[in-house]
Amino acid sequence: MARMKFICDTERCIDCNGCVTACKNENETPWGVNRRRVVTINDGVPGERSISVACMHCSDAPCLAVCPVNCIYHTEDGIVLHDKDQCIGCGYCYYACPFGAPQFPSTGLFNHRGKMDKCTFCSGGPEPDTSEAEFKKYGRNRIAEGKLPACAEMCGTKALIGGDATVIADIYRQRVETRGYGPELWGWKIAYGKPKRGGDVKAKGEGPRENQNLKDSQNDEGRLPT
């Protein structure tokens, strides 16, 4: 059985926000609702990395567990979807989600938030597939059209890959093996098991893969040497 997942390759992501906008465009979410966002760590210093975050379609989804009306569900592909007709807009899924994925059209007084919206892995919702009603509520159902998520398809550097976990893990593994670095960032073993060809993936490239020597005055945030 397929299990749909995303990986964002932080060795590639350039914070171009292509994924964020692709999602906006494809699903026509309003201002204020962003199913995907890009966060940069160590902004402006060596070791800077950007990562694109959306719903991870958790196998053991906290949002699903806390929803008071049980309107969140797993599809057989492991995609986490929800029913907006049933959602009461309580925000519990947002408190619970580790990735801040659930979004609300408003945050008003009396905990008035409107219907929760989140990444659907571009697979719509409980309405009939590719129907107008489905699009209005959940955005596009690309999966039903045989397409993959818009964000991953349009990713500026192919950093973001989405699809069947085994397939994307394979792509990622292959990439890592080509370039010789990366997996340590990714909880590789925990997430995707051992590299295909056995053994640990070790850094093959000589020297540091980037300019991370903080003592180097060029890296130092220090002074502009005038």
């Binding site: 990986i7 932080t10 966060v39 906290p62 009306v69 049980n70 959602c87």
Partner: protein, 365 residues
């Protein structure tokens, strides 16, 4: 009264430990926690690289905030700069697990206990027959305040419990669509009645404050356990020590807990982070548990447990013998004129005037 020193102590202890849990929980993301699942782990690993400092125990953010230029006018949810918050899954585990279990257990146990208590001990009746002379106990204002509070409380309790347990108890019976509609109404009912309840509680606090200061004789009452089991009437003032504890621990303290946490959960526009709301939720549930449990006790005593008491809140007056039996000190004070103007010979407004010599009305049960 269902409050004994012991239950009081346990209650305080529980409240304290909840606070401690909250504080321990503040170190989000909790890296020591076992990864819940691989997806989360992968992102956590990326985050490990961060050299930016983690928010400490005093931070109200729900994870490590990363500042890049999108921070100026964040897009996405309020914490668009947090990659991963471990508190979320933790909250789910605690709320759905031990907290829900404890709440359910406590409420059921208290309910059952009251039932058996009633079966075993029965109501506390006055020893002397009613004299037919009514003493005014509560003014119309006091009664209105009481009932407004009581009704809003009951609405909050019922709607709150449905939000919490409805998906286990009601949803299987009525199906998703009906339950969702119900929950939707209940959610808004809860969220709108909440502030109303706070207003009522404040009014109630000031209305009954003066008569709820502890006096020396209350000690006597406490020592004898209010005579609940022994059916001995322990002399008491206007309110006895049990009622006073209800006032102070229930209405006041738990009222505060519920109000503060409720407001945090209800008015989400003030930049509360998920972390704050998680902690508020823990306390809200804990408070609700004890408040509802205590209210069940209060209601029991006010109705079946103490025949005649309901009359006081319903119509404002009590029979002289009831006053003498339950609040001897107060009765004496009224008689001595220390509490002026509280004798009232008028018949309760919704009752026909009693024929002379006919037995005074008794609580029906």
């Amino acid at each position: 009264m269902s409050f004994t020193i012991r239950s009081l102590r346990t209650f305080l202890g529980l409240l304290l430990s909840l606070w401690l849990l909250g504080i321990a929980h503040a170190g989000v993301p909790n890296n020591r926690a076992e990864p819940a699942y691989a997806e989360e782990q992968t992102i956590l690993q990326a985050e490990k690289d961060a050299r930016t400092p983690e928010p400490g125990l005093d931070s109200k953010s729900s994870g490590r905030v990363h500042i890049d230029r999108h921070y100026l006018g964040q897009y996405g949810s309020t914490e668009g700069t947090v990659i991963v918050q471990r508190g979320g899954n933790q909250w789910r585990i605690w709320r759905n697990g031990p907290i829900a279990t404890a709440m359910g257990t406590i409420l059921v146990v208290v309910l059952v206990a009251i039932f058996f208590f009633y079966r075993a001990v029965g109501p506390v009746r006055t020893e002397e027959p009613d004299t037919g002379r009514r003493i005014r106990r509560f003014t119309s204002w006091e009664r209105h305040v009481h009932w407004a509070t009581a009704i809003s409380f009951i609405i909050l309790a019922v709607t709150g419990l449905v939000i919490m347990f409805g998906k286990k108890l009601i949803l299987p019976l009525v199906g998703h669509d009906v339950f969702a509609a119900l929950a939707y109404i209940f959610k808004y009912l809860h969220n709108f009645v909440g502030p109303l309840f706070i207003v009522c509680s404040v009014l109630m606090f000031f209305t009954f404050l003066r008569r709820n200061f502890f006096r020396r004789i209350d000690w006597q009452w406490i020592k004898q356990g209010g005579g609940l089991v022994s059916h001995k009437h322990v002399p008491a003032g206007f309110f006895n020590a049990g009622e006073k504890s209800w006032f102070w621990l229930g209405v006041t303290l738990l009222g505060l807990v519920m109000s503060i946490t409720g407001l945090i959960l209800d008015f989400v526009t003030f930049g509360q982070t998920r972390y704050i709301m998680q902690v508020a939720n823990y306390l809200h549930i804990a408070g609700a548990t004890f408040y509802i449990a205590a209210a069940m006790g209060h209601i029991y005593i006010g109705t079946w447990g103490t025949p005649g008491a309901y009359e006081a809140m319903r119509h404002g007056t009590v029979d002289e013998s009831w006053a003498k039996a339950h609040h001897a000190v107060w009765y004496d004070e009224v008689k001595a004129g220390v509490e002026p103007g509280t004798f009232d010979d008028r018949v309760p407004p919704d009752q026909r005037p009693p024929a002379a010599g006919s037995p005074p009305p008794r609580p029906a049960h």
